[in-house]
Amino acid sequence: MLKAIGPIALGGRELPLWVTSVIVLLAPALLAALVFTQAVADGKDLAVGAETAGVVAGGLVAWRTGSIVACVIIAAALTAALRAL
């Protein structure tokens, strides 16, 4: 349902430049919010844990290698290793 509303409301129209300009920047805003609410929050509390370190390491790998697969594997592996300590 939610996926349908946007295209119905705004289909088949040329958008003014200011709308387009906002749309282009929605992706970084939404993605960053998703990442941070998962990595440094636990429910309603802000919390740093093993998964925070794992996600940071995964981010470094993604940045250096451009590989999303290596990114998630490193993130999971480091998180698991830290929890095993």
């Binding site: 939610l2 295209p7 992706a27 970084p28 939404l30 919010a33 480091l78």
Partner: protein, 238 residues
């Protein structure tokens, strides 16, 4: 698929979707395991993946059911979590042809990675690339859920394996691939701050929706000039 170029875009999308599909596979395995821990039957988990096909919403709903919440609360949280598809769908709308029903159907193909991959950087989207990228991810999402739901006992505790780090790492990788300008990085930082500031007060999903306010940076004259320049060079491969 009517034309050669749309077929090419579909194949390109399917190819570009592969890394996300592999990462999504790991993510959906962990979903299958977590769903079972929360008391869902394997069949219920598999059906949920088939219909919802959105990681964050599925994990949010499971967390509430597992924590003793009602089904209504779980559905509400999933809807809020998916509310980001409103701005995403609104962004995609102008790039989809056909009447409202057809556009609504095509809008179902939106998942985060495909949406980001299909964006041309000038506000328009390559819809066939979107469909291709989603097709690959849909297949592995279902396979992973089935694997996790049926074979979860063999894996053990998903937290021990660090599976909960996969989801944020996945989106961080996507963000790093997308945010190539200083402006995009600044907006990402702003969006993260807005979301984190709201986490202690707002129900799950709302902080993420509210973060879209950061995109209003696009109203500045310099941001609009950058988009106009990107539109000028439209047609050039990204």
């Amino acid at each position: 698929m009517r034309t050669e170029s749309s077929r090419r875009a579909f194949r390109k999308g399917a190819r570009q979707g592969i890394p996300f599909a592999i990462a999504g596979f790991l993510l959906s395995v962990s979903f299958g395991v977590v769903a079972q821990d929360a008391g869902l039957s394997p069949l219920a988990a598999i059906v949920m993946s088939l219909i919802v096909f959105a990681g964050s919403a599925q994990f949010a709903a499971i967390a509430i059911v597992g924590g003793g919440g009602t089904v209504g609360a779980a559905i509400g949280a999933a809807a809020l979590m998916n509310s980001r598809f409103l701005p995403m769908g609104a962004a995609l709308g102008p790039s989809l042809p056909g009447g409202p029903a057809k556009r609504a159907a095509q809008g179902q193909a939106v998942v985060d990675a495909s949406w980001a991959l299909a964006g041309r950087g000038d506000g328009s989207f390559d819809r066939w690339l979107l469909f291709g990228a989603t097709a690959t991810q849909y297949v592995t999402w279902q396979l992973g859920t089935i694997g996790g739901a049926l074979g979860g006992d063999l894996l053990g505790d998903p937290d021990k394996l660090g599976l909960d780090a996969i989801y944020p790492a996945f989106f961080l990788g996507l963000l790093l691939a997308e945010a190539r300008t200083r402006r995009a990085v600044a907006v990402a930082a702003l969006g993260a701050c807005i979301a984190l500031a709201l986490v202690p007060f707002a129900p799950a999903g709302v902080p993420i929706l509210a973060a879209s306010v950061a995109a209003l940076v696009g109203l500045t004259r310099s941001a609009q000039a950058a988009v106009a320049a990107a539109q000028e060079s439209e047609g050039a491969p990204r």
